[in-house]
Amino acid sequence: MKKADTLGDELRRQGISRRTFLKFCAAMATSMALPASMAPVMADALAATRRQSVIWLSFQECTGCTESILRSYAPSIESLIFDFISLDYHHTLQAAAGRAAEDARDQAMQENWGKYLVIVDGSIPLKDGGIYSTIDGHTNLETLETVAAGAAALISVGTCAAYGGLPMARPNPTGAVGVDEIIKDKPVINLPGCPPIPEVMTGTIASFLTFGRLPEMDRLGRPVAFFGDTIHDRCYRRPLYERGKFARGFDDEGARKGWCLYALGCKGPITYNACATIKWNQGQSFPIQSGHGCLGCSEPRFWDKDSFYKPLSATHWGNAAGLAAAAAAGAAVGAGVAVLSRRHQDTIAKGE
């Protein structure tokens, strides 16, 4: 492989002008809510960096996250990110297979020890020694720990890598956990979503490339730039929520008129993600726009939380039998207390 001095040189060689670069940075700044004046600074910084080595580890996953990042299919501005990085190991994408693939990874690790970026999709099984998912005879846990040791930072892509996701759903047969449950000594950022939004992935990588560190995170380790607001906050149907216009079925008048889906179980109010602003498929649409409530897929344990169709304000209140039993118990205790009180009154009245 011919080695370029800087990313700028490398791209120029490919015929990518600095204007394109600038455009990319303007787009990134916009999507990450950075000040617009940062864009030229980012462009200069990016041009001066070296091509970033990236190792992509796939564990218990469905490849949906990879699909998602690739679904910036047209030569879009975001797809430029693949020109900025050197994806040295990725099961699904690399041409090499078997031993050759593993060797490529080892080589990349050696050459870039302490500097490479690790992207993980999928959860890590811990139960029974982690035997439920292995690659090249190594459990995912071993692989993760080995690779992470030389990483500059880790990015958990998708809800599985971030919080355990579907493999962790009750009863969690494999004992799946997310990356940050295991890796405690390296910076780890979570990009949850099932799958995550491509722009969120590329934006976070770009941010790492330009600033050399992971962006600001919230309490769940997510970049604030993309996960700062709830779906509900940014939803175009929010005014309908405010006006109390709710669809009550998927085929009723409200649904046809595009009213708020809160009553149909939309989890938008408690789901932090950028779906409502960045949207999907090149800004085409997002679940609520196509008439279905948010499932809350970028939140921990979303799968086990609740019925997708139960309104957020409805609760698990128990059942009528339980309350009837409580009433019966109350009546029994009340009657008992009354009898005791009568006796006690008599005792007092007797002056004993």
Binding site: V337, S341, H344, D346, I348, A349, K350, G351
Partner: protein
């Protein structure tokens, strides 16, 4: 031990009929330790923790609205006179000992044990500043009958020996002598004879059988004896079979007012037994509010079963006679204001009776604001008038009362309660009212048309 209280003589000079002002007050009775007093109080609190009292004590939301209904609060502005506050120790004892969550109240000491200091402090609130007029009941958004709760709280106070000096003394006199204020059977008989001569009216006493047993309050016997003659005059006019009876004549019930249920029962029992003995169909009660409350509404409950006779207040009796056209009355003309006795109107249910009589007398009734069921109490009932300590408070309440009566600018001031009447006389003098309240009964008797 000689009880110094008993030595106080009945004060026959004052407009207010009661004991002379004691030189030294003895507001605690009996030789008891503090612990014993509390125990006695608890004994009797406990007897009243029934469903009705419990409901009321559970219901209070501390809104303080009842204060606006109480003449003692309204005239003084002192928050301690807030009606529901008067039963605070009772409520406290209930919550700790008998309520549904008594266990927790006790376990966590959420309501501490009632102390003797609290009971002593509350004596004034339970006796001096409550006439049990029940106006607060109508104001309470929860309809809590505070008056009846005060009545219950008095039971405990009596047995703890924490009754105001004079009230305890008159109650004891009533129990021992048959009359709280010296109207023993001998005096009663003498005064009947005197009135018989004075007013030339036939008055029957101790008849072996009569349809109507007529009772009198000692206030009337001693202070307003004309009432006796006037009652006789009306009964004779109607040609009814009636009698006074020396075994059962005293209508006042200081057992009720002081809080001694046993005495209350004794006093009612005398009348009940006498009425049964002479086979009376009716017991006619005089113009006395608490007497009506005691016999009309408590009597059967003291007796333990329904009474074999009916109990009527003289105003009800007169109103019936008027309605049936048996009583022909001269047209008096003039205008009148009527003071509703709380125990007959609001708490007795006979609010309309005096109005019918007044109409029959051709008097234009000028209702002041807050009359009828909402009438301001005179401030002297419930035994308050006997307590010298409460005089200033009572006069304050009466200021409000007189202002209300004066606002009608009526010629006549009427009432049908001798206790209210003596309070008007006493307070009226103290406040230089310059007017006199008259008895409705006496007005009726003075205006009978004798067409024979």
């Amino acid at each position: 031990m000689t009880d110094p209280i008993i030595e106080h003589a009945v004060d026959m000079e004052s407009k207010r009929f009661g004991l002379k002002k004691p030189m030294v007050r003895y507001d605690t009775q009996g030789e008891m330790s503090d612990a014993e007093r509390v125990k006695k109080a608890m004994q009797h609190f406990a007897k009243d923790f029934g469903y009705v009292a419990a409901t009321y004590m559970e219901s209070c939301v501390h809104c303080g609205i009842c204060a606006n209904a109480c003449h003692f609060y309204v005239t003084t502005g002192d928050p301690k006179y807030t009606p529901i506050w008067k039963i605070e120790p009772f409520k406290q004892a209930y919550k700790r000992e008998a309520g549904p969550f008594a266990f927790f109240y006790k376990l966590f000491n959420l309501k501490h044990k009632v102390t003797v200091e609290e009971l002593e402090a509350w004596q004034e609130l339970i006796y001096d500043s409550c006439t049990m007029c029940g106006r607060c009941t109508l104001a309470c958004p929860m309809s809590i009958d505070i008056a009846s709760l005060v009545g219950m709280a008095r039971h405990a106070m009596f047995h703890a020996g924490l009754v105001p000096h004079e009230l305890w003394a008159v109650a004891l006199k009533a129990e021992e002598e048959g009359s709280p204020l010296g109207a023993n059977p001998k005096v009663f008989k003498e005064r009947i004879r005197w009135m018989e001569d004075e007013h030339e009216v036939d008055m029957y006493i101790d008849k072996e059988q009569a349809d109507i047993l007529v009772c009198m309050s000692s206030i009337e016997i001693q202070k307003y004896p004309k009432s006796m003659a006037d009652t006789a005059k009306v009964l004779n006019y109607l040609g009814l079979s009636w009698t006074f009876h020396t075994e059962g004549y005293e209508a006042t019930n200081f057992g009720l007012l002081s809080g001694n249920l046993d005495w209350q029962k004794d006093m009612s029992q005398k009348i009940i037994d006498t009425a049964i003995k002479i086979k009376a169909k009716t017991v006619l009660l005089p113009e006395c509010g608490h007497a009506y409350q005691a016999m009309r509404w408590h009597g059967a409950n003291m007796y333990g079963q329904s009474l074999p006779f009916t109990v009527v207040h003289i105003s009800e009796f007169l109103a019936d006679a008027v309605e049936q056209g048996k009583l022909k009355l001269r047209t008096v003309g003039k205008t009148a204001a009527f003071h509703d006795p709380c125990q007959v109107s609001r708490r007795g249910g006979a609010t309309q009776a005096p109005r019918k009589i007044i109409e029959a007398l051709g008097i234009e009734l000028r209702e002041p604001a807050s009359s009828g069921d909402f009438n301001w109490c005179c401030g002297g009932g419930g035994g308050v008038i006997t307590i010298h300590r409460a005089d200033e408070l009572r006069y304050k309440a009466m200021e409000l009362k007189l202002k209300q009566m004066d606002s009608t600018r009526a010629h006549l001031m009427l009432t049908s309660c001798s206790n209210c009447r003596q309070n008007f006389d006493d307070s009226g003098e103290h406040l230089a009212w310059g007017r006199k309240i008259e008895s409705l009964l006496e007005l009726v008797a003075d205006n009978l048309i004798e067409d024979k």
